[in-house]
Every structure is written in C-alpha cells, then in structure tokens.
Subunit: 460 residues, 2 copies
C-alpha cells in the first residue's frame, strides 16, 4: 500500500503546520452554552468551512435555528469506494472556573507533560483536537492523489448543549448525509499506549428543577422558623435520590437495565482496570457507586444519577441572612441497556412532586433525553478498524464501553439507519469539561496517522 505510506509520511512531515492549524481553531472561544459566545461559534464554523475547502471538500456553513452546522463532501479517487460520514463538533464547554486555569483557556500552548508534549486549551481534546486528527488525515490523502473513500464531514456546534438543532438538520438532509458507516471521533483510547474502539455508550437524561416558595427573598431573622426554605426542601429531595446502597431510588429506574453477558464481563475483567490509579489521578480512593459492582461496571454498564449543579440564596463572599425564594439543581441520569429516557424523566419529576411540602412548587426544564446504545463487535467495520489501529499502535485495540453519552450515534442509527464506528484518541486525564483541558501531542499526531490507516482499511 504505497499510497498509505506516502500519506503517513506527509502527516509526519507536516506536524508543525498541523499544530498551527489546530491552535488557530482552539483560539476561537466557541462556547455554545454562552449566548455572548454565539458569534465565536459562527467564526469557528467559518474557519472549518475554509479548512475543508482547502483540502478538497465542497464545503458550506449551513445555518440552523441554533449554532451553524458545517458540511463538506469529497469524492473518492476510485469508483465503488465505500461512503463514510465523519461527525465532530466545534463547540466547547464553558471555561469556568477561570481561576483554576494555569494559562488562558483560549490561548493554546504546548507544554511538557509526563508523556511528552501536551496541547493545553479548552477544546484541545473535546472535540477540536479529535476532529482535526481526521481532517489532517484527509489532508494527507489530498497531497497524495485523493481520498480512498467517499467522505462527508458533518461538524456541529451544539454538542455541549444537547445538540438541539442537529436532529432536524439530519432529518432534513438525510439523503446527503446517509452513508455506509459513520465515523465518530469523540471517544478515548484505553490508555496512552492502547487504542480503543468504543462499542457501548451510556445515554443521558438531563433535567433542571427549580423549587419556588415565597414570592421574594426573605430576611432569615424576620421569617426564619415560619417560612419554608426551598434549599432545605431541595436538599431533602436530592438526598432521597439514592438509597443506602448507592442505588438510584426513582421508582422503575432500573427497568431495562440488564446484567452484563458473561463473555463481556470476562473481557472487561481481562482489561485489568486499575481502580486505584483511575481514582487516584483525580484525588479519590474509594469507588462511590452501587455496592457490589466493579468500577468498570459503575462507569460503563450501570446507570447513575448525579447533581451537576446546585444554586440558591446568597453565594458571594461573607454572610447574608437571606431566606431565598427559590433554589434549583441540574440533575442528570446516565442510562444503559434499554432504559427509556422519557420514563426516567417522568419518574424523576413525579419523585420531586411527591416530596413538595405546602407552598413549594417545582418547575422543570429538560436539557437532554437520549437512550444508551451498543454496537456489534463482530462486524466488518470494527474488525478492519481494529487491525488498522493495531498496525499503528503495535497493540490490539481494546473494545470498550464509555460512560459518556454521544447522542449523535443514536440519532444516526434512528434517523439514517447507520451504525457508527467510534474511535478517538482522548485519554482519561485530558480534563475535558474541566480547567486545563489538554490533548497529548502524540494523540494528535498518531491520531491523524490512525485515521489514515482506517480510511485505507475501510476502502478495502
């Protein structure tokens, strides 16, 4: 396969320019959760549209009701080549709390890390670094005669806020987007040496609940003792969400949750997951989930409930003797197997309402409701991609689960009848969604090489 060797050589020779391109994208603060950043989201979309044009794609920014989508298409150099839809997202998480960053989140830089150089910036891994590995692979083929597959690239700007506009866009453009296989890059390696293909994803139901009591904030001296405190009510409800064994207490929550098949359980045991290292890296020691479950089960095959945010009353410096009029929490559920997101949402809302004392009302906003998904490990795409990854990294690819949701995988399956091959080069310590997010420079470089190999392998 002389073409592939040339493509890999091109990627190697152009690392410095590749870093420059990634830094240009990382410098755009495309935070989709912050309305004042919407113009930056549009700028990131425009930047990617130009980038795709430069490497031979017919590309356009496509406006939606929310942040724009970028779509680019490029034909294979040969007839009868398979068609692929590559998905990524250019939006990033909010950078707060800013005070915990050691350098400004939108001024990317290379620093020396324990494994070699790291790229530090918001989005360095999730998802700008990851998506650029694929574009760099395409650039390598462009310089060596063209792509081996028909490729459509779909880049959205609302992944971090629930991909609100994407379903309608995919439905409206189903014919243009439908391919033999989707490629999704928003996943991790097993460890820094071992590539992975993710075949199991948890779903996500994300609810926001606001409890309201008095019609205004009260003085806790004048009203305290007689007026109901919505923070206290909220605390009681949140405390009740788990039982003494760490299981989620919502009625019907475990409907559709199945035990792992014996062969999968065996494969996971063989991965020899290091609980102490996984937790130790973030300063923890004891797995905090359901009693009697392994940590990998807690992360990949068991559902969860977490409070992602809580707010109420005075939160500034010092003391304020306020008895607040309202309190709210963001509560999310990671879903597995056949759990029905809508039923989980309804059970949660009923659970809250059943615990409201007199004078307290609850309002709900739903931010996400996506089921879990699983892919066959025995199909041709997974087998070819696994061989390509092994050729690059010198180790067999691990076939793993992931605790995080990638709702687009469900969307592609549901609306386009299309499976997704999930390959990414993130690592557990990349601090995505947190301060000082990073991406290993080796992930960026060898990630691009890996995609080149996968494209060649999928072409046959």
């Amino acid at each position: 396969m002389p073409t592939l060797e040339n493509v890999l050589a091109t990627i190697d020779a152009n690392q410095s320019e590749a870093i420059d391109r990634l830094f240009a994208l990382l410098a755009i603060p495309s935070v989709s959760a912050e309305p004042e950043r919407f113009p930056d989201c549009a700028r990131a979309a425009d930047w990617l549209t130009r980038e795709l044009g430069e490497i031979g794609f017919e590309a356009a920014r496509r406006d939606t009701g929310g942040r724009p989508v970028v779509v680019g298409t490029a034909k294979a150099k040969t007839r009868d080549a398979p068609s692929l839809l590559f998905y990524g997202h250019y939006d990033v998480q909010p950078a707060d709390p800013l005070a915990l960053w050691t350098s400004p989140p939108f001024e990317p830089r290379l620093i020396k890390g324990p494994r070699g150089q790291q790229i530090v910036a918001r989005g360095a891994c999730d998802d700008k670094g990851q998506l650029m590995t694929f574009l760099e692979a395409c650039r390598g083929f462009r310089a060596n005669g063209g792509l081996p597959c028909n490729v459509t690239v779909l880049l959205e700007g609302e992944e971090e806020t629930g991909s609100v506009s994407l379903p309608a866009f995919v439905v409206a453009n189903a014919k243009a987007l439908k391919a033999d296989l989707a490629l999704v890059c928003d996943t991790e390696m097993w460890d820094a040496q071992t590539p992975a293909i993710t075949t199991m994803l948890r779903g996500l139901a994300f609810e926001e609940v606001t409890l309201k009591a008095a019609n205004r904030d009260l003085h806790s001296g004048i009203y305290g003792g007689a007026a109901i405190n919505p923070i206290r009510v909220l605390a009681r409800i949140l405390a009740d969400l788990h039982d003494a064994n760490g299981a989620v207490a919502l009625p019907g929550f475990y409907d559709g949750v199945e035990e792992l098949p014996a062969e999968v359980a065996e494969q996971w045991r063989a991965l020899d997951f290091d609980d102490a290292k996984f937790l130790g890296e973030v300063g923890l020691q004891v797995p905090a989930g359901e009693k009697g479950r392994s940590t990998l089960e807690m992360l990949w095959s068991r559902p969860t409930c977490d409070v992602n945010g809580i707010t109420g009353g005075y939160q500034g410096e010092g003391a304020k003797t306020v008895l607040p009029a309202q309190a709210s929490a963001k509560v999310s559920f990671r879903l597995v197997g056949k759990q029905n997101p809508e039923r989980v949402v309804q059970s949660f809302r009923a659970f809250v309402k059943a615990r409201l004392p007199a004078d307290v009302t609850a309002e709900f906003v739903s931010h996400s409701a996506n089921p879990a998904i699983a892919l066959s490990t025995r199909g041709e795409p997974v087998r070819r991609a696994a061989r390509a990854l092994e050729a690059e990294w010198g180790r067999p690819a691990a076939l793993i689960g992931s605790g995080g949701s990638i709702p687009v995988v469900g969307l592609f399956k549901r609306e386009l009848g299309m499976d997704s091959l999930m390959v990414g080069f993130g690592l557990a310590d990349d601090a995505i969604h947190a301060p000082n997010e990073k991406y290993e420079r080796s992930s960026f470089h060898r990630g691009a090489r890996s995609w080149a190999r996968i494209l060649a392998a999928l072409a046959g």
Copy 2:
C-alpha cells in the same frame, strides 16, 4: 413642653429637605460584603461625618481594620442631662439579584404605595432610613436651642457582614462610648399603625461549610457512578439537619432553650398575630417551623436552622455534565434564651464531619456567633419611651420580640454594661435584604418625630 412642640414643627416643615438628605445617603452603594464597594463605604462614612458636623456634633471618621466607624458627640443644653449612645449602621446588603429590582437599587425614588408614599432603594429601611430618623430629630433640636440629652452617635459599616471590627473598637473606646442607655434603631413597628419596643432578640450563629472531593471538576460521563459527588453528600447533610417534626437535629441544640413564661405567652396571644396575613404577604400559607408551636414562637422564642445559600457545579444556562470537585453552603442558626453560640457551632461541625464519606473533606468558616438577648420591660427607659411612642402614634407601644439578631446589643451589654432601648419604624413588608427594599415615608417622618419625643421623655 414648648421646645418639643417647636422641634416637631421644625421636623414637619423640613420634610422635603429631609428626603433630599436621605436620598443623598441612599445613592452611595455602601455594600460591606463586596470588596469593590469598600470605597463607597468610606464615602458613606464621610457623608455622615459631615452631616453630624452640620447639626452640631463633634464628629470624626474613625478607621478600623475594616470599614470605618463614624463617631459624633453633642452635649445637652442643660447640665445633669442623661447620656445616650445612639447606634446605627451605614452599610447595606448586596443588591443581588439585580434583575428583580423594578428600579436601580442605588437610585432612590418615591413611589406611591398602598399606605402612601414609599422610599425605594437598597438601605431605604435597613438601616439608612432608620438611622436618619434619629439624625433628623437631632437636627430639629439643633434648630430649637439644642439637645435635651448628651448624645453620642456611633455608626458602623460592617453590620451586614458580622460587625467584625466593632467589638475591638467598642472595647478600645469604652470610656467615650459608655452612656446611661443605648438607643438602637434597627427594629420594626408592630404594624403600620402600632409602634413597638423590641425587648427580645434572637442570636445568630452563621457557618459556611465547603465539602471537597476530587482534585478537579470531572466529566460526569467518564467518572459518574464511580466518583463521589460532593453536592450529593452536602444535600444529605442539609436534609439531616431537621427531623420529621421540623426540629433541628443537632445534638444538644436545644440546651438553654426555655419555654415562654406564662405572662409573656399571654401577652403574645393578645397581640392577635395574623399568620395568614404575615405569610400571605410573601406568597406563603403554611407555617413551616416546629410542629405544635405558634408562628410568633417560631419567629421570636424558638431557635431555627436555615440554609442561606448553596452553590456547587455548573450554574449557568443550559446543561454541563460536570461532576464538581466541591460544593458549599451557608448555614445559620437563630438562637434564643441561653443557647451557647460556640457550642452550636461545634455541634454543627461535628454533625457534618460525622456524615462525610471516604474521599470527602469539610472546611468551615464562621461568620457570626452571638447569643440571644432579653431586656426588662419594667425599667424606666422602656416605660418613658413607651409613653412617648403612644403620644406620637395614638396607640400603646407593643413590647415585642424579634427574630433577627442585633449583635451590637449584646456587645454593649457585655463590654459596656449598658442596656439598649430598641425602637425602629420598619415594617414587615419593607423587603430588607431583598429586591425592592422600601421604607414608608410615614415611617421616616413620624420616626423622626418619635425620636424627638423619646429624647424629650428620657431627659425627664
């Protein structure tokens, strides 16, 4: 008493100028909880120093380790007059949430209210409006030959943040400040027609607790299920603070809490407190305190626990699937009788620590720890003040309790051996500590007249 009649006439004739003076003070955003407002606190102190000088006081701004104190002294026109120490505070609560104000909090204005005109601004009642009633009374005497008592005015700028610097200042200036009686204006009327003298105050212990778990914020998909969530731990602890009957569950919390003497209970029943109206004004219906207690008991003679603020994780718009590294709450206890604030604080801290799971630590900051206080209703000062108030308002003054703390009253008793006469003209619906704080124009006008009468009465 021709002098008093002249003083009252002067106050009546100068209402418009009095409003101008109050508005000038209200326009200074002297929020002691916000470091960026410290220069405004100093400006308010300077303004009051000039104001005192104008009405014949020898006044000076006195610097402390925190916000400055203003002290002014003026001699009585006669010998052998009693000496009084008037206390007020020029600092105000933070104005947030700003969005709920119908006009900017530091642009005072007069609006039409259900009982007549109202002064709307942060601090309109607490405590700028209240303290200016006293200065306007002094101004009236100044225009009519001088004060009937020796008066020292002490105005601090840290009342809303726990009066951190005041105790040392009072101790260091004990000789200058010691008087026959303190006058404290930070209290309420019984209702818009009925003046009141407050003889019972709850104390306050105010704690801030921060729970810390992982060494950084985590992605709830990647870590959710295995990593402990400090919001969940905090919710459980806060939920446990009350038992099913609404009583505070801290061990030893009720030590020193006594049942009301029968005569006081009878007097309170005779006040015919309207639960439905009190709660209805703020949109509530059901008293939420300890089962089996009257609302006035819940407010005046029973201790409480309230969560004044809670914060953790992502609180912006939309969804962020973060599993936060920490969560914190501001928790305060209103104290009565002989409850020991330090013991309550220690019991709270032990209660929290006993409920920490593996990997979670707690840090505490104490913002306040003051005992409850009670004054004799049978002494000469209360009797003379009660007659003066009845003369102004045409109704007997109610002798009441107050749910809020006025730590300075304890300080004066402890350090100067001095009782405090607590008279104020706030109303329950003044929205102090909340958006759209107001003060009735009649409170401001007749408050000044009331103080003129009280000064005359105390002079004999």
